[in-house]
C-alpha cells in the first residue's frame, strides 16, 4: 500500500498496518548503522532535495544523512540561501528543484498545509518535514518507533504528551499515529496551550500533570517556547516548570519500564530537569538515531516501485 503513495504528508490517514510496515522497514534500515560500511546503494541515481524554509538543524541533518546512507544525490536549500529572499514563491522554488531532476522533495515550512500545497502541484514525491503546527510525520514515527522498539506493540499503551499541544506539529503527528495503532493518547498542558475540541480525535486532555502521568508507559515532553510566554499564553517559564516540568519527583511515580522522551531541542531546567533528561528512563538520544532510520525508510518507500527492497542488502 505504501508504495502506491506519491507523497507522505501526515499520519492522519495512515492506517496502523502501514505504520507498522514503516517501522519494520526502519528496523532493517537501522541494521545498516551497525555495519562498518554504513551505506547501501538503494537510491543510487535518485535525487532528494531538502527544502527548508525554517531553521532546522536536527531534522535537516537527519534527512541529509538518511538520503546519503541510501546513496541518493542530495541537495539542501535553506531559506536564507534561496531565491525566497528575492521574492520567489514556495512553489516556484520547488518547481525549479523538480525540473533539475528532484525525485523526492523534503519540505519544511512554517505554514500549515505547505507540504500538501507542493504535493498537489509537483510530480515529484513530497515528504513533509514539518508544516507549521500541522504535521511532522517523521518525528511522530520516530517517537512511535522508539516506544515500539523498547516496549513492543502500541495497542493499549498509555502515552502522554506534555506541553504546547496547540502549536505543536509533533504532538499532532504523534496523536494520529498512536491513535491509529490503538494506543491511549493523553495530552497535558495549560488550557491556553490545548487546542479546542481536540477530544474529538479520541485523545484525553489533562491540565494537571500528576493526574496525566498516572500509569503511563511513556511521556513525551515538548519544548516550551519562550515566545508563547511573551504572547501571553502562560505567565512565566518558572511557573510552567513548577506546574508541568518533569522533575525527579514526578519521574519517580512512573512505572519501572516507562520511557521519558523529548523530540528536542530541550530547554533543560524548564520542561525537563537535567537529571531526568540524562536519567535511566530517558531515550532522547535514541530518538535521534531512530530518526535517521525512519527517514531512510520513508525515502525508500517514496522512491517508487522500481526501487526494490533487495537492494538494501
Amino acid at each position: 500500500m505504501l508504495k502506491q503513495r506519491k507523497d507522505f504528508l501526515g499520519l492522519y490517514d495512515v492506517p496502523g498496518e502501514d505504520i507498522m510496515e514503516i517501522l519494520q522497514t526502519a528496523r532493517s534500515m537501522k541494521d545498516i548503522f551497525t555495519r562498518s560500511i554504513k551505506k547501501v546503494p538503494t537510491l543510487r541515481g535518485k535525487t532528494v532535495v531538502n527544502l527548508f524554509f525554517e531553521p532546522s538543524t536536527r531534522t535537516k541533518s537527519s534527512f541529509d544523512l538518511a538520503a546519503k546512507r541510501l546513496s541518493a544525490d542530495v541537495m539542501s536549500i535553506s531559506k536564507s540561501s534561496s531565491s525566497v529572499v528575492k521574492g520567489e514563491t514556495l512553489l516556484d522554488t520547488a518547481r525549479t528543484m523538480e525540473v533539475m531532476g528532484a525525485d523526492i522533495v523534503v519540505v519544511r515550512h512554517s505554514h500549515p498545509g505547505a507540504a500538501r500545497y507542493l504535493a498537489k502541484n509537483l510530480k515529484a514525491a513530497v515528504l513533509n518535514a514539518g508544516d507549521g503546527a500541522h504535521a511532522h510525520p517523521t518525528q511522530g514515527l520516530l517517537d512511535i518507533y522508539t516506544i515500539w522498539e523498547k516496549l513492543g506493540e502500541l495497542q493499549d499503551k498509555k502515552i502522554l504528551i506534555v506541553g504546547d499541544i496547540a502549536h505543536s506539529r509533533v504532538a499532532r503527528s504523534n496523536i494520529w499515529g498512536l491513535l491509529n495503532l490503538g494506543a491511549e493518547v493523553r495530552v497535558c498542558g495549560p488550557s491556553t496551550l490545548l487546542p479546542r475540541q481536540l477530544e474529538e480525535t479520541g485523545v484525553k486532555t489533562y491540565t494537571k500533570i500528576d493526574e496525566a502521568l498516572d500509569d503511563v508507559d511513556a511521556v513525551n515532553i515538548l519544548r516550551i517556547q519562550l515566545e508563547r510566554q511573551e504572547s501571553g499564553l502562560f505567565p512565566s517559564l518558572r511557573e510552567y516548570r513548577f506546574l508541568f516540568g518533569i522533575n525527579e519527583a514526578r519521574q519517580s511515580r512512573l512505572k519501572d519500564e516507562a520511557l521519558v522522551m523529548h523530540p528536542g531541542p530541550m530547554n533543560r531546567g524548564v520542561e525537563i530537569e537535567s537529571s531526568v533528561a540524562d536519567g535511566k528512563r530517558a531515550v532522547i538520544t535514541e530518538q535521534v538515531t531512530n530518526g535517521v532510520a525512519i527517514r531512510m525508510a520513508l525515502l525508500y518507500l517514496l522512491a517508487g516501485k522500481e526501487v526494490q527492497y533487495e537492494n538494501l542488502a
Binding site: 512553489l91 498545509g113 505547505a114 500538501r116 479546542r196 480525535t201
Partner: protein, 439 residues
C-alpha cells in the same frame, strides 16, 4: 423597445400574482402582466415586439446585492466596476452596493463621484457605500454629511472594523442625523488574533490559527448596545454564528433597530471545507461550524434574517495562490450565489422563492432606501430569469469577475440564471451555448 416574456413563473411576495404569466416590457418598465393563455398564442407576432418563451422559468425582480467589493478605484487588478458589473449581471443582480475599502477609501465625495461616473458606464445600478471613519482608520469620523449629499446610502468600515467604541458611538449618533444605516463588520481584531479559520475541531487538527466565534459575537453585542444607546440603525454584515443570531433576535425583540445579512457561503458551507487547505475556502468571517450553519438555515425559514448578501470579495490569482496562511480572505460570490441558494436551500425546502425575493430584493432595498416596485405594472423592468432545470458546472475560469476563487468551483449545479434584464433591456442572456453579456 418592447419585450414580451412569455410563460414564466413570476415571484413577488408583495402582490397577488398569477402562477404562470406573460409580461410585456415597454420603455424600460413593466407595462402589462397577464396570466399565460395556453390555448392560443394571441399576443405573438405583434410588430416590434421581441418575444421570449421562458418555458416556465422563474421571473424575479432584479436582485440587489448590498455587500460587494468592486475594488475600483485603487485595486483594479482585483476587480473593476465593469468586470464586477458583468459578474453581477451573470449572477442575476441588477443593483449592487459597493464597499468603500478602495484606494483611496470612499470617505469623501470625490471618490463617491468617481465611482458613480464609472457606474454610469455600466448597465446595472451601483450604489456606493461610504466609510464610517477617515481612511477607515477607526479614529476620526468621515465627512458623513458630504457623503450623504453625494448620494451615499449606508456607512461601513467593512474589513477594518471600528475597534474604538467611543468612535462607533459617535458615528451612530452622527449617521442618524442623515438617516444612514451603519453597516458593521463585527470582529474583535485582538481576539481574532490573526487567525485564518473558524476555531473548532478542524482548526485543531489542521494546525491553522483559529478565529473564535466570540471575536464576532463580542462586537455584535457591543454594536447592539451602542445602537440601543444611540437609537441608530444598525445592520450586521455577514452574520455567521448562532450566538450572534440570538443576540440580533433579542435586540430586535427589544425594539432596537438592527438588521442582519448572511452570505450564501455561510448558509451552505462549514469549516470542514478547509480540510485540504484550499485557499478558496479562506474567508472572513470564516466558514463556521455545523451548529452555526443549521441555526442560520433555520432562521431563514422563520424570517429572522433580513438579507442574503454575497460579500463578493475578488482577489488576484497571486493573492489566492500559495499556502492557506499566505492567501487573502475572500470569495468571488456573485456568479454562484443564486444557483447555490437554489440547489442547497430551495430544492431542499429550507427556503422558498418568495422569501428569497424578500431577502435579496425588498429588504436590502428598504435598508438602503432604494426604490423597489417589484413586478408591479409601471415598475422599472429590472428582472432576473432563473431556469430551475438547467444543469451546469461551476468553472471559475469562466467567471466574468476577475476574482477566480470559489469554494464551489467544480460543483455541479441544477438551476441557473438565464436572462438578466435592466431597465427593459437584456444585459445577460445564457440561452445559447455560450453565456454572453450583451451590453
Amino acid at each position: 423597445m418592447r419585450i414580451l416574456l412569455k410563460n414564466c413563473r413570476p415571484v413577488d411576495p408583495e402582490m397577488e400574482i398569477p402562477e404562470r404569466a406573460d409580461l410585456l416590457l415597454e420603455d424600460g418598465r413593466i407595462s402589462q402582466m397577464k396570466t399565460t393563455d395556453n390555448q392560443g398564442d394571441s399576443s405573438a407576432g405583434s410588430a416590434g415586439i421581441e418575444t421570449l418563451d421562458l418555458k416556465g422559468a422563474y421571473l424575479l425582480p432584479g436582485l440587489i446585492d448590498m455587500h460587494a467589493h468592486f475594488r475600483e478605484p485603487g485595486y483594479e487588478e482585483r476587480e473593476t466596476i465593469r468586470t464586477g458589473s458583468e459578474a453581477a449581471a451573470a449572477g442575476g443582480f441588477t443593483t449592487v452596493a459597493v464597499m468603500p475599502n478602495t484606494r483611496p477609501v470612499a470617505d469623501n465625495p470625490a471618490t463617491i463621484e468617481l465611482i458613480k461616473a464609472r457606474a454610469a458606464e455600466v448597465p446595472i445600478d451601483i450604489t456606493p457605500l461610504g466609510s464610517i471613519t477617515k481612511g477607515s482608520a477607526g479614529s476620526e469620523l468621515a465627512e458623513i454629511g458630504f457623503l450623504s449629499q453625494a448620494g451615499v446610502r449606508g456607512l461601513t468600515d467593512d474589513g477594518q472594523p471600528v475597534m474604538n467604541s467611543e468612535v462607533m458611538r459617535r458615528a451612530m449618533e452622527y449617521a442618524s442625523d442623515f438617516e444612514l444605516p451603519i453597516i458593521s463588520h463585527c470582529e474583535d481584531l485582538k481576539l481574532a488574533a490573526e487567525g485564518v479559520m473558524h476555531e473548532g475541531y478542524y482548526s485543531s487538527i489542521l494546525g491553522l490559527k483559529p478565529i473564535p466565534a466570540a471575536a464576532e459575537e463580542i462586537m455584535i453585542a457591543r454594536d447592539i448596545a451602542l445602537a440601543e444607546l444611540t437609537g441608530a440603525r444598525l445592520h450586521i454584515a455577514h452574520l455567521s454564528t448562532f450566538r450572534g443570531l440570538e443576540m440580533v433576535l433579542q435586540a430586535r425583540a427589544k425594539g432596537i433597530k438592527v438588521t442582519a445579512e448572511v452570505t450564501p457561503h455561510h448558509l451552505t458551507l462549514t469549516d470542514r471545507e478547509v480540510l485540504g487547505y484550499d485557499t478558496a475556502t479562506k474567508v472572513n468571517p470564516p466558514l463556521r461550524g455545523q451548529q452555526d450553519l443549521k441555526a442560520l438555515q433555520q432562521a431563514l425559514s422563520q424570517d429572522e434574517i433580513d438579507v442574503i448578501a454575497t460579500d463578493h470579495a475578488p482577489h488576484t490569482v497571486e493573492e489566492k495562490m500559495g499556502t492557506f496562511d499566505s492567501a487573502a480572505f475572500g470569495i468571488s460570490g456573485l456568479e454562484t450565489a443564486l444557483a447555490v441558494l437554489h440547489q442547497e436551500l430551495i430544492l431542499t425546502d429550507k427556503l422558498d422563492w418568495k422569501r428569497l425575493v424578500r431577502l435579496m430584493y425588498y429588504n436590502p432595498a428598504k435598508i438602503l432606501g432604494l426604490e423597489a416596485q417589484g413586478l408591479r405594472t409601471g415598475a422599472r423592468a429590472d428582472l432576473t430569469v432563473f431556469d430551475p432545470d438547467k444543469n451546469w458546472q461551476v468553472d471559475t475560469d469562466k467567471f466574468k469577475s476577475l476574482g477566480r476563487h470559489s469554494p464551489y468551483n467544480g460543483w455541479e449545479l441544477t438551476g441557473k440564471v438565464l436572462i438578466t434584464i435592466k431597465d427593459g433591456r437584456i444585459i445577460y442572456d445564457d440561452r445559447g451555448d455560450q453565456a454572453e453579456i450583451l451590453y
